[in-house]
Every structure is written in structure tokens, then in C-alpha cells.
Symmetry: C2
Subunit: 475 residues, 2 copies
């Protein structure tokens, strides 16, 4: 068995990589930006491309209609269909369901990309392109893993299902309802759900056992004055800057009452786990290119990345944002900020805390302008047990491919789907990343390294084998 | 004489308006946005269109090469030529020089325009379009004034020169040098300079005797981290919001040390002048659409519009500014803000005050990020004597056309060219607006009313006649 897998690995490394890279190039070339309604035809084409690939591999494939989305202007737009597929249906085997997404964040060359974001470009072993790491290459790596077994005419050790969506980057519109609707059909035979929509912490492979949630807010300050009257009215930008400045202290402390109090205290066991993670602070600083981090020791730093909330101010809509020196005084400005959610925060409570706080701060300014605060996303955090058989299988697969123990990590970002799968299906979930720590998800110059793409595919091949050996306890 | 002018007025009103409107439509249709380098060919076409019009009227026209501009990326771009023209060269007559510009601010339908900004649209007597009031219709009104004399085969009562530029909205790049170069040639025979690049205060016609200057700043906060590390670094946006919030108090007070101290005190005479202006606070509030102004009495309000500095925050480049909910954490953000300048402020001193202040505020934050403050525009204020014969002639022309005394006003905005003309040529300058108080310069839905366009043309006709009667004192 191990020999066969080894052959399979070599096969990938020496002959399949160009094929894999070309497939990734084709996928990256499709501008499947789910936030841009003008790109919706591309997104539909992307889903069809995924479905066609899985069909050609012999899977049982469905393009599931998940309805329409309502736009802010009241118009409706067809959502990209969700692709489901099944390979193998042997009742004696476990069934894993692999979740991934093939939509991407917006990307424009002028954002600071060194290469065309939709033309996959290999430089020094890195494959640059929007969506390369988030999440197209990981989805393809799973496909390659199934193909590897097929290429060697080996039976898959487990039944493999896929759920591939196209709205992840804008909040997985329509997916929750689809999961709910298929809970007792497509998902009923599923034993385990695998998500690879995340990344490593260092050059060591990782297993991810938690993600932060996210509450995303719009704070809009509006006035109706015309732009030429500087000096006679309180400008909305002044008010907006003023209230935004009350969210966070200069040292990064969240100032909204009640937020920090809701966070579960750090247990001794957790502290020990964090201590055990191989993580070099200086190395990390160098790698992400900053001189100074907010915390000077490893546990504090990791804890603040993963298990404490953070507030980020993303930008302001309606103000002057182009290059140059326009003197416009905008009449309506909307700040976008988000608060990462951790146990035991509750988005409904956070919504109230933020809204009440900003209105009280704004009231103190005695401004003639109007403030409107809305929470547009309220996603809960997710946590798994790192001693679950699914994680033990993951550790074994990593040991086999990389000859090391994994970093057991959490994700500072938000992958709401993990929480949804847990809440709706009740199945066990593992997050198994293959993306590099420096892949630049959501940023300019996103990439997936050739190394991670190839070794990641091997890991998935090995993991399917390890999962097949999990003992059934409750069957 | 008066009878002839009356005939001329009627002629304009009943037959020339459609012609004038069509000309304005043609001019507005040219996207002469001087801040957008991609529109530079349009800008060149605009200058050629102006030159051709003046040539067809029999003027002596030059397209003056003013060189190139250097772009931030180091590339160079040809500046739009300055159009000069001369009508009449009779040494016994006064010579006026009319300054105007035909470049415009940026405008996009999605900024909130009710109509296509580059398709002049008449609604209820208003002509909507980018540049309609700032400054294309006023330039055309001066052209129509000359045409009116020509149509009636009347000699112009004064020699008329034109200086029309195409870079006003981005700081009149190249114009200062051109004025300097032609000080002893084109400008040597000029007696008076007339600028109509401004607007009225109310429905009453106005003469403008002062403008504020402007110091425009970029404050850039930069970090090199990637976007996925929320919680481990101090985000540049947090720092930027923090320092911007130290510029202005909630009630609108400027907090930068030294700025307010430099302002010339309000004299008793000035206070009396402000008292005499017919200005209804409630009316003004209704017209600009706000519930509450920063000052509750007329003198305070007008003084703060015209003769006190203000700080406006225009926006942030580099942050997320589109609709929707992207979670990007920008690594480099640049705030744009400006401080209107009044006597006795000095832009060089303001630059130092602002830079020192922001760096000291930033230092207190103990942030690992980098701050860079630059002043990209430093324009001085301008003030004229309202008892000068040029202003007395203006009052007489307004009396003749509108049968009222003018509001004697200042301009809260910045028209640096007035100051330049004064400093370089030493000639007397008048600002004679015909734009309405609610024309929305630099904003969406900019317009010029049919009434102001027609009556403004009449005013210019009458004004040329009044200026011709100014007694030569020093010749």
C-alpha cells in the first residue's frame, strides 16, 4: 500500500504537475469575483467548468440551483449554482465530503499586483494569481488526489463527495439553505467534512481547529449640504473619523464596552498548547515585513491572532479615494469595519454593543449630521477537538508525507462554513490547509507555491487513506 | 448707448440663447477632466475648440505651449496649451483681460448624478453638466458679450483679452510660469484683470473681493504586513484615523497649534460690512439642506466661510472604498485633507505646523508604522479693495442689469490665480461671478441656470461699457 502511494506521489511530481498547473491557470483565468455583479457570467462559467471536470472524472455531479440574490438597488441576480459530486458509494467505507469554493476576491493590476492577477504566472517556484491559494489550488489538489487513485486504477479508500460553491467571498449567500435542504439526503451519508480553505502558520504543515467569526459593520454619516460650504457645517467626514477613533486605542485595545469581557479566559491547557507551537517571533516579523508586533511573546501573539477579538477598519465609501488632490467635501460617508468573533462572543450582542456605543459617542459630539449603524455580516466562531480521530488521521498523514508533527493552529480569519456545517449537519469537521503562510489571501500578489501545491496533493492522497482506517465506533 | 445695449440684451434673450446653450452643450460634452491623465486628449481638444471659436470671432489667438507635467511615476505628459486672444488694440481704450478655465473636476454618473454629467441637460430652467458653472458657461458668457457687440456692429468699448487655461482644477500647473514669461508682453498693456470663476452668495448678484488660499496635505501611513494578520500588528488605518481625529474638535475647532493664532483679527469695519450683507440664515440652511450650522449668527457664519481657516478631510486613498464588505486590511493608506488659508497665514509656516503636529501626535501613539506628511498645494489667499474704480464699475453694471446693489462677498474656496495675477502683473483684479449660489461646483449635479447664463451675459456686456468710463488717473 505505501509503495503504491509512493509511486502515485512520484507520478504527480514528475508528470502531472504541468497538467495541474495548466488546470490552475485555466481556473485562475476565469474572473470569478463574486462581489462584482458584472462578473456574474464568469462565475456561472466557473461553476460549469468545475462540474464538467468532475463529470469527466466519472463523478455523479449536480449543479444545484440555490436561487437569486437581492441587490441593494432591489434588483435580483441569479446565484452561481453549487456543484455537488460523488465518487464511490460503498456502504462499508467512510464517506468524506470536501468543501471548497472557486469564487475570488476582487483584484485589479493597479491595486499593486506585480503580474496580471488573472494570468497565472510562475516566478521562483510561486504561482501568482487571484484565487490561486484561496481556494482554487486546494480544490484542484483534492481533484488531483482522486485522479491519482484513478490513474493507478486503485479504488478510493473512502467515498468522496464534493461541495463546491461560488459565493464564499461575499458570505456564502444561499449555501446555508442548500445545506439545510440536503441535510437528510446528500449530507446524511457523510461521515466527515473536510475544509481546505485556510493556510499554514509557518513552513511546517498545520491542522486548523478553530476559526474566528466576524461581525461586519457599516457606519454611515450623512449630511445634505453641498460641497462648497467648508466652514459653515460640521462635515460628515469629521464626525466619521471622530467616531471611528473611539473603537481602538493606539496600542490596539478594543474600546467598545462589553466586547473584551465576553471573551472566554485563556485556560492553562490552552496556554500550554500555544507554548508547544514552533513559532519564531523574529522569523515571523521578518516574513510579514514589520518591525514591531503588538505583543512581544509567542503566546500573547498567537492568542491575539486566534482567540481574542480584533477590530479592523477597512475603508470609507463615499469619500475621495482616487489619486490626486480633489477638494470635495463628501455629504455621505460610510465606514466599513469588522470585529473578529471568538468564544464566547455572540454576534447579536456585539451588534447591540457596537450600535449603542457608536450612537452614544456620536451623541456626545452634538453633531447636526445623521448616523446610521448596520451589521451586514454576523458570523460565529468555530472550534474543534484536536484529539478527535479525524485530527489524529490528519497528524498521521502529515507525518507520512512531511515526516513531522503538524502545527495545531487556529485561523484568525473567518470561515463561516465550518460553523454552519457543524450546526446544521452535526458531522465532525476538519480544516486541513495546504496554502502557505505568506500566500497573500485577499491581498495583491496572492500565490500558491509549486511546493505546497504538489506536497498538498500528496497529503490529500495520504489523508484519504488514513481516514479509511478510522474505526467505526457508532455503527 | 443704453438703448443700443437694450436691443443687444433682447437679441440675446430671444434668439441667441439656444445658440449659447448649444455651445455650452458642445463644451460640456468634452470630458476635459484635468486630474485624469487618460482624458488628456480631451483636454487638448477642449483648448483647440476654445481657440477655434475665438479665431472665428476675429480675435488674434495664440495656443501657448506651457510644457509638460511630471507624473508621480516619473513619466511626463504634455500640458494643455493656454489660449490667449485679443480683440481690439486701440491705445486710447482701456484693456481688460478675462481669465477663465475650461478644465473640469472629475465626474461619474455613479457619484450620484441624476443625469449624465457630460450631456448638458435642461431641467426646470437649469442646465446640468460637469463644468457648466465651473467655469465653462462664464467663459462662454464673456465670449457671447463680445459677440453681442460684434452682432450689432458696435466697437468694443474696451480692448478685450482672454487667457483661458486647462489645468485650473489641479493647481494651474504651468500657468504661473506663462504669466511670468508674458508679463512684459501680453500682460503689459492690460489695465484690469477680470475673473468669473466663482459664484453668488444668494439670488442677488455679487462682487467678490477675496478668496481663501489652500494648503492640501497627504498623510500616508504605511506598513508592510500582509492582509491576513489582524490582531498581531497595529493596522495603518487605525493609526491614520487616530491622527486625523486630532485635526479638528467635534465642534469644528482647528486643533493644530499656531493655525488660529495666525489669523488677522476681525476689524470693526469688517464686522460692519458683514452686518450689511443681506443674508438670511434660515433661508441659507434650507437652501443647502442642513438643520444646523456651525455658527448661529450671520457675521460669525460669514466670517467662518470667508476669513477664518477650515480643515476638511476629503478621503483616504488605498483603503477599501467600493460598495460591499471586503475584509482587506490595507498596508498603505493616504489621507487627503486641506486647510483653507486666510490673511495673515503663510503656507510655508502652515506646512511646518501641520507636519510637526502630526508627527508629534503620531510619535505619542508609539506605532511601528511609518508616517509621511507632504503638502502638495500651498496657495495664498487674496483680498481686493471694494472701493477701487473696478469695483465701482461693477456695482454700476449690476445696478443697470439687475437694478440692485451687489452683495460684496468673499469666496470660501480657493482661486489661486487671483493671487498670482496680483503678485506677478501688479494689475488690479476684480472677481465678477455669474454662477448661482447653489450650482454645486465640484459636486454631483453641477448646473448653471438659464437665468444666470443670460443675465450674466448681459452683465458682462454692461460691465465692458462701465469699465470704458473709468478715468485714467496715472496715464
Amino acid at each position: 500500500q505505501y509503495f503504491t502511494l509512493l509511486v502515485c506521489f512520484l507520478h504527480i511530481e514528475h508528470s502531472d504537475f504541468p497538467t495541474g498547473r495548466n488546470m490552475l491557470r485555466d481556473w485562475v483565468a476565469i474572473e470569478s469575483d463574486s462581489s462584482n455583479v458584472q462578473k456574474r457570467p464568469e462565475l456561472h462559467r466557473m461553476m460549469e467548468t468545475v462540474a464538467q471536470k468532475l463529470r469527466l472524472m466519472g463523478g455523479t455531479v449536480q449543479l444545484v440551483d440555490i436561487g437569486e440574490q437581492e441587490l441593494p438597488d432591489g434588483q435580483t441576480l441569479e446565484l452561481p449554482k453549487v456543484v455537488t459530486a460523488q465518487f464511490g458509494n460503498v456502504s462499508s467505507k467512510h464517506t468524506v465530503c470536501i468543501y471548497g469554493h472557486v469564487d475570488v476576491q476582487p483584484a485589479k493590476l493597479e491595486d499593486g499586483w506585480a503580474t496580471d492577477p488573472y494570468n497565472l504566472t510562475e516566478i521562483n517556484g510561486n504561482l501568482y494569481g487571484r484565487g490561486a491559494s484561496d481556494n482554487k489550488a486546494p480544490v484542484l489538489a483534492w481533484i488531483h488526489a482522486v485522479e491519482a487513485y484513478q490513474a493507478l486504477s486503485m479504488d478510493l479508500p473512502v467515498n468522496v463527495k464534493f461541495v463546491i460553491e461560488g459565493m464564499e467571498e461575499t458570505g456564502s449567500n444561499g449555501l446555508d439553505a442548500m445545506i439545510m435542504a440536503q441535510r437528510d439526503t446528500f449530507f446524511s451519508e457523510v461521515d466527515y467534512i473536510i475544509i481546505s480553505d485556510c493556510g499554514w502558520l509557518s513552513r511546517r504543515p498545520a491542522l486548523t481547529y478553530g476559526t474566528r467569526g466576524n461581525c461586519y459593520f457599516f457606519a454611515e454619516v450623512q449630511d445634505l449640504h453641498s460641497g462648497v460650504y467648508g466652514g459653515t457645517v460640521i462635515e460628515p467626514m469629521t464626525d466619521l473619523i471622530g467616531i471611528l477613533d473611539t473603537l481602538i486605542s493606539p496600542s490596539g485595545k478594543i474600546l467598545i464596552p462589553g466586547i473584551r469581557e465576553a471573551v472566554a479566559p485563556l485556560s492553562d491547557e490552552e496556554w500550554k498548547m500555544y507554548q508547544d507551537i514552533q513559532f519564531d517571533m523574529d522569523n515571523y516579523k521578518n516574513k510579514i515585513g514589520v518591525n514591531q508586533l503588538m505583543y512581544s511573546n509567542k503566546v500573547d501573539l498567537l492568542a491575539h491572532m486566534w482567540r481574542y477579538p480584533t477590530v479592523s477598519i477597512h475603508g470609507i465609501e463615499g469619500a475621495f479615494s482616487d489619486p490626486g488632490s480633489k477638494t470635495v467635501i463628501p455629504a455621505k460617508v460610510t465606514a466599513k469595519f469588522s470585529i473578529r468573533q471568538v468564544p464566547d462572543m455572540d454576534p447579536a450582542m456585539v451588534k447591540k454593543q457596537v450600535t449603542d456605543y457608536l450612537h452614544s459617542v456620536f451623541a456626545k459630539r452634538r453633531s447636526p449630521n445623521k448616523l446610521k449603524v448596520t451589521m451586514v455580516i454576523g458570523a460565529k466562531p468555530w472550534l474543534a477537538d484536536t484529539h478527535h480521530p479525524l485530527y489524529e488521521a490528519g497528524k498521521a498523514a502529515i507525518k507520512r508525507v512531511f515526516n513531522t508533527d503538524p502545527d495545531l493552529i487556529r485561523e484568525g480569519g473567518t470561515i463561516p462554513i465550518a460553523r454552519t456545517f457543524q450546526d446544521v449537519t452535526g458531522k465532525s469537521i476538519i480544516m486541513m490547509p495546504i496554502g502557505g503562510f505568506d500566500d497573500g489571501l485577499h491581498s495583491q500578489n496572492e500565490k500558491m507555491s509549486r511546493y505546497n501545491y504538489i506536497e498538498g496533493t500528496k497529503l490529500f492522497i495520504a489523508y484519504l487513506n488514513e481516514v479509511s482506517q478510522i474505526k467505526r465506533t457508532s455503527v
